[in-house]
């Protein structure tokens, strides 16, 4: 059925926002930092999707990448280290009408915040998460992170990291209720944008690991991948990421992959010789926690007051005799 007249009229007058309407301040990131590319892609998304600034929230933890909310002219919450997800979940639970994004670093998400990461995947709330994975603690000046490759020399591992790096993709794909997993690299802006967009449109927790360069502390780390287009493997499918001819001309290593095929997704995620770029897994049928637990009731001021008073009453110690008086 097509739209009724009133609806048409109102849509006719919708506002269009420009990129500048989402920009706030000058990023304090080093020049050459991959976070800039992510910021540009996300601002483009906001503009193209017409996200209303007052209906959009960016939540982050601590780190270079977690400065992200400062640079968005939307609502934001620069949280505490590792706790971006619980805050974002609270926001979404209280205000399911808001669009919620999370920006988190590899230290923030995979180290101190690892517990929240696992459970957020299982809760599958409708949130879009960007893991800015520069494989190092950037803000605190070069300490090893769980995703640093073995042998990485850093201030905490002067002789090189001792352990194999953790793979955020395979970990994510191992958690119950996972519903969207993708990987992007900051140096292919077109694909970064497409993946960010697909993640935004997915209903559920969209986990996007973005391989992000930190020229300050690991300037050469990604060079082998950047300089050999064959080492970027484009994961495409008609129901997931589609590759434009311009991209196909530069990046010729393609693999077709059905985003519902979990086994294959895990296989692709485990690749070490190439960096897969695209949507590894997407299942639109996993229920969202906020929907399962939605109470439907309107949170009027009165409702909130009654709820709070009920809670406080549990802890109130009445002087002797006052209890009965209160009950009467």
């Amino acid at each position: 059925m097509n739209m009724a007249a009133t609806e048409c009229l109102l849509q006719l007058y919708e506002e269009r926002l420009q990129l500048e309407d989402y920009q706030s301040g000058v990023p304090r990131w080093c020049s050459g930092c991959g976070d800039n590319a992510i910021l540009a892609a996300v601002q483009r998304l906001c503009r193209d999707e017409g996200l209303r600034p007052e209906q959009t929230v960016f939540v982050s933890g601590i780190g270079c990448s977690s400065r992200f909310p400062h640079y968005m002219k939307t609502y934001g919450f620069h949280g505490i280290h590792g706790r971006a997800l619980p805050i974002a979940e609270g926001v979404k639970m209280a205000r399911p009408d808001l669009t919620v994004f999370v920006n988190t670093g590899d230290g923030d998400c995979c180290s101190i915040g690892a517990a929240h990461w696992i459970h957020a995947l299982r809760y599958n709330m409708n949130i879009t998460l960007f893991l800015h994975d520069n494989q190092i603690y950037g803000l605190t000046k070069k300490q090893v992170s769980p995703t640093s490759p073995i042998g990485t020399r850093s201030n905490t591992t002067p002789r090189g990291a001792y352990l194999e790096a953790l793979n955020p993709l395979t970990v994510t794909l191992g958690v119950q209720n996972v519903s969207f997993v993708a990987q992007a690299v900051d140096w292919i802006p077109e694909l970064l944008y497409d993946i960010v967009k697909a993640a935004y449109h997915h209903k559920g927790l969209s986990f996007v690991r973005i391989v992000q360069r930190c020229p300050e502390w690991l300037p050469k780390l990604m060079d082998p991948w950047m300089h050999d287009p064959q080492k970027v493997q484009l994961v495409h499918h008609e129901r997931a990421l589609r590759i434009s001819p311009a991209i196909a001309k530069v990046y010729k290593n393609h693999v077709e992959h059905d985003p519902l095929n979990m086994d294959r997704a895990r296989e692709i995620a485990s690749s070490t010789d190439v960096v897969p770029v695209g949507i590894l897994y997407q299942n639109p049928c996993v229920p969202c926690y906020e929907d399962i637990r939605r109470s439907g009731g309107l949170r009027s001021a009165d409702y909130v007051r009654r709820g709070l008073e009920g809670e406080f009453d549990k802890f109130t110690v009445w002087p002797e005799g006052a209890g009965e008086q209160q009950a009467a």
Partner: protein, 720 residues
């Protein structure tokens, strides 16, 4: 024998029983043989009675009693005493049917208890407990269509109205929030008294409210709500709070708003009058809802929106805008569908108004206004339905009440449809009661194609194939449905015969038409008596040599043969022809399709013949033409030119930091060379070297006097 034929033919042509041989059928309680098995419906388990379930989670709000009992038996009827309990429960079910047939009324639980009486028992209680649904029991009688449709409508409306009320309540709260927030920010909101009341009594001494008020007033300067917005919000609130289209659920007791409107009516005229009367209020509310939605999102811009809402609803109005409002229900009877009522119905349908109209037909065999001998079989129902379908935006469901339970899904579909709907239902219970119970009569009408069942759903697609369904009609491929009939002959031998159920079988059950029939005593049964369906299939030329006859049974279940006059045979032919055209609409034996098919077949045959005559040629496989998607053409660049592959820029700020005049970002935050003269060739080369994605191409130097060019050009080579 010759004289037998003459007597029969004379009756066939004139309807007169000459000579003593043919007998009248009135008073004999004859029935078509195919209905012999349905003498006592209370002993049969079928779709009726139904329980009009009061509250039902899974949406099925009408459940056959037999289905509920079966499900409960399946759940709780097992165990050692299983078979005994089963029989006991089925017996009880039969008793409930008898109670209803005797006119008892009430809920399932009430009638169950009444029927069970003193007889209790472990098993019975167990099964009873397993039946979770409860509600009024309804048998298939004249009241059934309105009860059932009304019940289903109620269920849909309640849900709809609850959602609507929630929406309105939400808007009221959010609008109030705007006013409350404004108050909190105002000087009055920061006054000593207000602050005090916010803290409560126990800790008042700990605060200096004067100081608090002063600080708040002096330090935070907030802009008050503009007067026009305050006026608008207040006005919207008053409209939303005084609306009567749905009952608000959140109001505390005693705080009653005005009585909500009723939406169920007994005539189209009354419904239409109410609709007209309320329309200005409806438009006002609709406008308030749209404005409030904008207002609470802070998207109401006076310059843009004032003009839209000022003229709102003035130049006509799309009824689809009312889709969130409750729908009207009209329960009307076909016998009163004349004159004004008829006009009103047409107005409702052609206006696309949100009304669901039940037109109940009780009598399909009214005499035509033309007088004796002319029948107008189901005329009014047919007229209404074809008018409604002709308007193409009306949902139409036609169904006899016998099959209404099976088709309750379509009923719900019609109720949910966002436009007018017509439910044309034959109750099977004419005023001048026939010999058949309503259920059987209704089912016979479907069987005899007098009242075929169909659905026309405009929301299902844009063509007839998607919209029109003939679903429930038995053996739709045939002119008349054919059934096996088994009996015992006079020598106690088992005999079987296939009988077709025609319009004439339907009519013979109605005593008003007894004159059109004559009983032939067994002694005169002969080869010139042919089944009605056979007679209908061959239109006779000249003087008839055969006479159509029905196979019937009397009260003692003895076989009888009854001949019929030509009048009714003519009616049956008309009825069959109408069935044909209905069938074509339903895509069954569609003449256009059949012709097309025949033509294609012929063409195919021709090609095949030619091919077998000519030597075989292997056709080259035709490659599937798949046009390559056009490659976005990058402009051809000369290596001398300086440029950036902007689409591949990863926004790293290197170049823009190096020389923000020379390198700038575009609307997507990707770099391009904004002014090549704003910097040196050395800077271009340096930027190219710093760009980690290597998308900066410095080209050839433009100023030959720039120092160190030779070395720079060497460095630039890598990026040309």
């Amino acid at each position: 024998m010759e004289s037998d034929l003459q007597t029969h033919v004379t009756f066939y042509l004139t309807g007169k029983r000459h000579g003593g041989q043919l007998g009248p059928i009135d008073g004999m309680a004859l029935r078509p043989a195919l209905l012999a098995g349905y003498r006592d419906l209370t002993r049969l388990r079928y779709d009726y009675p139904v329980v009009l379930c009061a509250q039902d989670g899974d949406g099925a709000s009408v459940r056959p009693l037999s289905g509920l009992v079966d499900a409960a038996l399946g759940q709780a009827g097992g165990g050692q005493d299983g078979e005994r309990v089963r029989r006991h429960v089925l017996h009880l079910e039969e008793d409930i049917r008898k109670l209803l047939a005797e006119g008892a009324e009430g809920t399932l639980s009430a009638l169950w208890d009444k029927a069970a009486g003193a007889q209790a028992g472990q098993g019975l209680g167990r099964v009873r407990a397993a039946i979770k649904a409860d509600g009024e029991l309804a048998d298939c009688d004249r009241r059934l269509p309105a009860r059932l449709v009304g019940h289903a409508w109620n269920a849909v409306q309640q849900r709809k109205s609850r959602r609507f009320a929630e929406d309105i309540t939400r808007l009221i709260h959010k609008l109030n929030d705007i006013l409350v927030a404004d108050f909190v920010r105002s000087d009055a909101g920061k006054s000593v008294d207000v602050l005090k009341s916010g803290i409560g009594t126990s800790h008042q001494d700990s605060f200096d409210f004067d100081a608090m008020s002063r600080i708040l007033r002096d330090s935070v300067h907030e802009v008050a709500l503009p007067a026009s917005r305050r006026r608008r919000v207040t006005q919207l609130l008053s409209v939303l709070e005084s609306q009567r289209f749905c009952a608000r659920t959140d109001l505390p007791a005693g705080d009653e708003a005005d009585e909500p409107y009723a939406f169920a009516f007994g005539s189209c005229d009354a419904a239409l009058r109410a609709y007209r009367e309320r329309l200005p209020k409806a438009i006002e509310l609709l406008k308030a809802i749209s404005m409030a939605e904008l207002e609470i999102r802070s998207e109401y811009h006076e310059a843009k929106h004032d003009p839209i809402f000022e003229g709102f609803g003035e130049i006509g109005f799309d009824p689809r805008d009312l889709s969130r409002f409750p729908d009207y229900l009209v329960c009307a009877n076909a016998s009163r569908m004349r004159g004004v009522e008829n006009d009103r119905l047409a107005e409702i349908f052609s206006g696309g108004l949100p009304m669901k109209v039940l037109v109940q037909t009780d009598d399909l065999l009214e005499e035509s206004p033309l007088g004796k001998g002319h029948l107008a079989i189901g005329l009014r129902a047919k007229q209404l339905a074809s008018m409604a379908i002709g308007l193409s935006r009306v949902f139409v469901l036609q169904c006899p009440s016998s099959h209404l339970v099976q088709w309750s899904g379509h009923l719900t579909q019609g109720l949910l449809y966002s436009g007018p709907a017509l439910f044309s239902v034959f109750s099977g219970a004419p005023e001048k009661a026939g010999t058949l119970p309503a259920y059987l009569n209704a089912a016979a009408a479907l069987e005899a194609r007098v009242f075929p069942a169909y659905v026309y759903d405009p929301s299902a697609g844009s063509d007839w194939a998607a919209r029109f369904h003939l679903g429930e009609n038995p053996q739709a491929e045939r002119d008349w449905p054919m059934r096996e009939f088994a009996y015992e002959d006079s020598n106690h031998q088992r005999m079987a015969e296939s009988l077709e159920f025609t319009l004439v079988d339907f009519i013979v059950c109605d005593p008003r038409f007894a004159d059109h029939f004559a009983r032939v005593p067994p002694a005169h049964w002969n080869g010139s008596l042919v089944p009605v369906a056979e007679a209908l299939a061959h239109e006779p030329v000249g003087l008839p040599t055969q006479v159509p006859c029905l196979t019937m049974v009397d009260e003692s279940n003895a076989l009888q043969k009854v001949i019929v006059d030509e009048n009714l045979i003519r009616e049956a032919r008309t009825c069959r022809d109408m069935w044909y055209s209905l069938r074509e609409l339903g895509g069954i034996r569609n003449s256009h399709a059949e012709r097309l098919l025949a033509r294609e077949k012929q063409a195919w045959e021709r090609v095949r013949k030619q091919e077998s005559a000519a030597p075989a040629v292997v056709a080259a496989p035709v490659a599937e033409a798949r046009p390559e998607p056009p490659v976005e053409s990058e402009p051809e660049r000369s290596p001398d030119e300086a440029y950036i592959e902007t689409a591949r820029c990863s926004t790293c700020n290197e170049c823009t930091t190096l020389n923000p005049k020379m390198f700038k970002y575009d609307a997507n935050m990707q770099a391009y060379i904004a002014d090549i003269d704003a910097g040196t060739y050395a800077q271009l080369v340096e930027a190219a070297e710093n760009c980690q994605v290597s998308v900066i191409h410095p080209g050839k130097p433009r100023n030959p006097k720039e120092p160190g060019l030779e070395e720079l050009q060497k460095r630039a080579e890598a990026f040309l």
